[in-house]
């Protein structure tokens, strides 16, 4: 049903236009929160949700507080950055002073010496150290050159190129001295740690200087002034190291302050985050409301489950009291043409099964829910493919572990696969229980049979038992009462017997489930009072399926009961090819030929029965309704204009006969072909269950029994370990997955396509819990 809730306008919403503003504010707040979170991540402070905030903040207070915090943090960060940069520069300067000092002096001394004692003999070592300068001096000794110097740091990987470019640019009129710095230094610009070389450049002339400066900038080489005289130099070094220690202390204090702020935030962060999320969601929802004509109250239109009506009324009443409003809210049921959303109440047991169905499609409103049968038939079909009570017990133990520790695991964050297993724990529980049952029927415990319920029905033909391996045993006792006779296991005729049994089992189960699906379509049609669907869809479908495959199932059962050797393939094939021929030795019961003729005719008749009448009847129905509604339109003058328009649109909907007919044609072809292909599809039950039992018997015999035969404890242990891993890896994990997927397919396609439309949409109630969860 659709409801309308009319709220009186609470005083603090001074205008409707406030909501976009509010949402913007919430967005801004969540941006600030994200910023804070980033800062906390940078500072490696994790949010601790342990402290449930004692101080309850108003959302407005929170906004102010967040703003303050953001400003404080950004300012702190900017200051810190500035300080850090200065600090890095000073550190570099310090390095330059130390490193460059050495080469500066050796180079300069030699240069000045050369200048002074040009004519005198020179020491060899200095000439080696400054060949370029020396050359210049030698070629032009009379010219008095003023030497300038530049010093700084250049990244190590660029040093070679730097040197080359400098050389080319100044045509060799400079001296570069480089000295690698041992430890990495932090680059003040990028803030990254890099290996650098300290350099000193000597040059002559202003033009050379400007060139060199440009080159330095291009290479990211930071220049630092280098005092030439020693006294100044010492003073600078002292000054720099003093500044460095000062800055270090300042930076540390700044960081400590930031950390303490962030720590304070971290304890409250989750609380604030949730608060902002809730606030945002509330305003989003409020924005969907509309103002009524008087502009004095807000109107909310929405869906609610019928059973929740009184709860909603209570909540509204409470809200009125809490907000001290003079006028209460009005709660009114609204009639509408729209189709309501679908809401199935589920609990922790049924929700996973409902999800299996919902993954295919959400049920149309009030459509029969296949989830109810899925709870039993899904694990049952799984178990037919996974029949082994040893493996079933393993699954049961695993899932019981999940179920017992349910509360603990539910509060934890699990990884993807565990989360999936945990979500489907009750599905796995049912699957394991049914596996144990079908395992008992198949009489397989890790592929080993047990004589649990009685002695085997088969005995030797004679006391010597000589022909047991050639002629076989003979049935002397009553049939094994529960499940497959243990004697079959390991016998030479095991496969032919099990193949025949499991193939027929698949067909019988399949036909039964498809019939269930068709009957569900009857209940759907009955509920929606759709007589056309009952008479022209349900009945011919039922007849068609059962006159072919229902009959086949009947033949299978008759054959078993009579122990007849009739060939059922032959019977079924010749029922179509030459229905009037005599059945001969394949006859199972008297009058079978007549029955087959009648069934064949019924099947042939039911195809046009499905196809032709329904479109015509639909057209007639539409025409009748069309006429009828034209009268009501005139009557409905007091209704609002919009509603009239809506109805008008409905009227103008043309009945496309061709389209409906093609749709019905497709539907009929799909059903007729589907009856064959779906029945064949159920044979996957046979294939998978056979594969499972063969695999497990291979693992048992070729690994465990074989290693046992060696009479060696080490080989036995190795064999047991291999068996264990093969059983867990292949049988318990992979086989479970494949059987699960095949059971899923059988439900989605073979079962649900008989009745389930699944074109509805889900009921999505507003809840804080889901809002907080979804963004995490």
């Amino acid at each position: 049903m659709q409801i309308i809730i009319v709220f009186t306008k609470p005083s603090y919403y001074s205008a409707y236009t406030l909501h976009p503003m509010k949402i913007k504010r919430c967005g801004e707040m969540s941006r600030k929160l994200r910023f804070l979170k980033e800062q906390m991540l940078k500072a490696a402070i994790s949010t601790s949700s342990t402290q449930l905030s004692g101080t309850s903040l108003d959302i407005d207070d929170l906004e102010i507080k967040l703003g303050e915090l953001e400003v404080e943090l950004t300012e702190g960060n900017a200051n810190n950055e500035k300080l850090q940069r200065t600090y890095n520069e000073l550190v570099e300067y310090n390095v330059v002073l130390q490193k460059a000092g050495e080469c500066f002096y050796s180079a300069q001394r030699s240069a000045t010496e050369q200048q002074r004692e040009m004519s005198a003999d020179q020491p060899d070592d200095s000439s080696l150290e400054s060949p370029l300068l020396q050359q210049e001096m030698l070629t032009d000794p009379s010219k008095q050159v003023k030497l300038g110097s530049l010093s700084g740091l250049v990244p190590k990987e660029k040093a070679m190129a730097f040197e080359r470019i400098l050389f080319r640019a100044t045509r060799g009129n400079m001296l570069l001295r480089q000295e690698p710095v041992d430890e990495t230094v932090t680059d003040p610009l990028s803030g990254e740690k890099v290996n650098k070389n300290a350099f000193v450049i000597f040059y002559s002339g202003d033009r050379a200087k400007s060139k060199i400066v440009k080159i330095c900038d291009a290479f990211g080489a930071n220049r630092y002034p280098f005092p030439e005289d020693t006294g100044k130099q010492l003073q600078t070094i002292q000054e720099v190291s003093g500044k460095i220690s000062e800055l270090k202390a300042t930076i540390e204090i700044g960081l400590a302050q930031r950390d303490s702020i962030l720590k304070n935030i971290s304890s409250e962060f989750d609380h604030w985050n949730n608060m902002v999320k809730k606030e945002k969601a509330i305003y989003h929802t409020l924005n969907m409301l509309s103002l009524d004509v008087t502009k004095k109250c807000l109107v909310a239109e929405g869906w609610s489950p019928v059973f929740a009506t009184s709860q909603i009324e209570d909540a509204l009443l409470r809200a009125t009291v809490d907000s001290k409003s003079q006028v209460g809210s009005i709660f009114q049921v609204l009639n509408t043409q729209e189709s309501p959303p679908t809401y199935f109440q589920t609990n922790k047991f049924t929700s996973a099964f409902q999800e299996i169905v919902d993954a295919y499609g959400i049920a149309k409103y009030q459509e029969a829910n296949p989830g109810v049968f899925t709870i039993v038939t899904f694990p049952f079909l799984f178990a037919i493919m996974f029949g082994d009570w040893g493996h079933g017990i393993c699954l049961l133990v695993a899932t019981l572990y999940l179920i017992i520790r349910e509360k603990k695991l539910a509060s934890q964050k699990l990884d993807d696969i565990m989360d999936m297993m945990f979500g489907g724990r009750y599905v796995i529980l049912m699957m394991s229980l049914f596996s144990i049952y079908t395992g008992l029927i198949y009489n397989e415990f890790f592929s080993v049979p047990f004589e649990l319920f009685a002695k085997s029905a088969y005995v030797c033909r004679d006391p010597s038992c000589g022909d047991a391996t050639t002629e076989g045993l003979i049935k002397a006792r009553p049939t094994y009462p529960f499940g497959v006779d243990p004697v079959w296991h390991g016998s030479r005729s095991e496969l032919p017997f099990l193949n025949s049994l499991k193939m027929k089992l698949s067909i019988l189960i399949g036909v039964a489930q498809m019939n269930l699906g068709i009957f569900m379509s009857y209940f759907n049609a009955k509920f929606f009072r759709n007589a056309i669907n009952i008479w022209y869809q349900f009945i011919p479908q039922l007849i068609f399926l059962n006159s072919l495959f229902g009959y086949l199932s009947l033949l299978i059962i008759i054959k078993w009961c009579m122990g007849s050797k009739a060939d059922l393939y032959h019977v079924m094939i010749y029922m179509f090819l030459s229905p009037t021929d005599d059945l001969g030795e394949n006859q199972l019961f008297p009058g079978q030929k007549l029955v087959q003729l009648v069934l064949l005719l019924l099947a042939l008749v039911s195809v046009p029965w499905m196809l032709i009448p329904k479109p015509f009847l639909l057209k007639r129905q539409h025409d009748q309704r069309h006429q009828g509604q034209q009268y009501t339109m005139l009557e409905a003058t007091d209704e609002s204009v919009t509603e009239l328009e809506e109805q008008h649109e409905d009227h103008n909907e043309e009945f496309e006969f061709g389209e409906v007919f093609v749709h019905q044609l497709i539907h009929t072809i799909e059903f007729v072909l589907g009856a064959v292909s779906n029945t064949a599809s159920y044979l996957r039950l046979w294939a998978l269950s056979l594969a499972h039992s063969e695999l497990s018997s291979v693992f048992y015999e070729k690994v465990l029994v074989l290693s046992w035969g060696y009479n060696n404890i080490i080989i036995l242990i190795i064999g047991a370990v291999i068996f264990l891993f093969a059983t867990i890896g292949v049988l318990l994990v992979m086989e479970t997955l494949s059987a699960f997927l095949h059971a899923l397919r059988l439900h989605w396609v073979e079962f649900q396509n008989k009745f389930y439309e699944g074109d509805g949409y889900k009921f999505a109630p507003f809840a804080f819990a889901s809002i907080i969860e979804e963004e995490d």
């Binding site: 391996t469 076989g472 016998s491 122990g563």
Partner: protein, 69 residues
């Protein structure tokens, strides 16, 4: 134990389970119907499985031939 006796046992256990579900967790007609559906479907499934395997072994067309060691 013949076919009918075991079928009767299935029928009885299904009936008992339905009764138990009605008595133990009686939570309104809709939930009861749901529980009954589950119990009946499960019983029918289990019975079908058993019956098929039982009937298949009633009058064997092939006999087990032991593999010679």
């Amino acid at each position: 134990m013949g076919f009918l006796v075991t079928t009767l046992i299935f029928l009885l256990s299904g009936g008992v389970a339905s009764l138990l579900s009605l008595l133990c967790c009686n939570r309104g007609p809709s939930t009861n119907l749901f529980h009954l559906t589950l119990v009946i479907t499960a019983t029918v499934c289990c019975w079908m499985m058993w019956a098929i395997v039982y009937l298949a072994q009633l009058k064997p067309l092939i006999n087990p031939i032991l593999s010679g060691e």
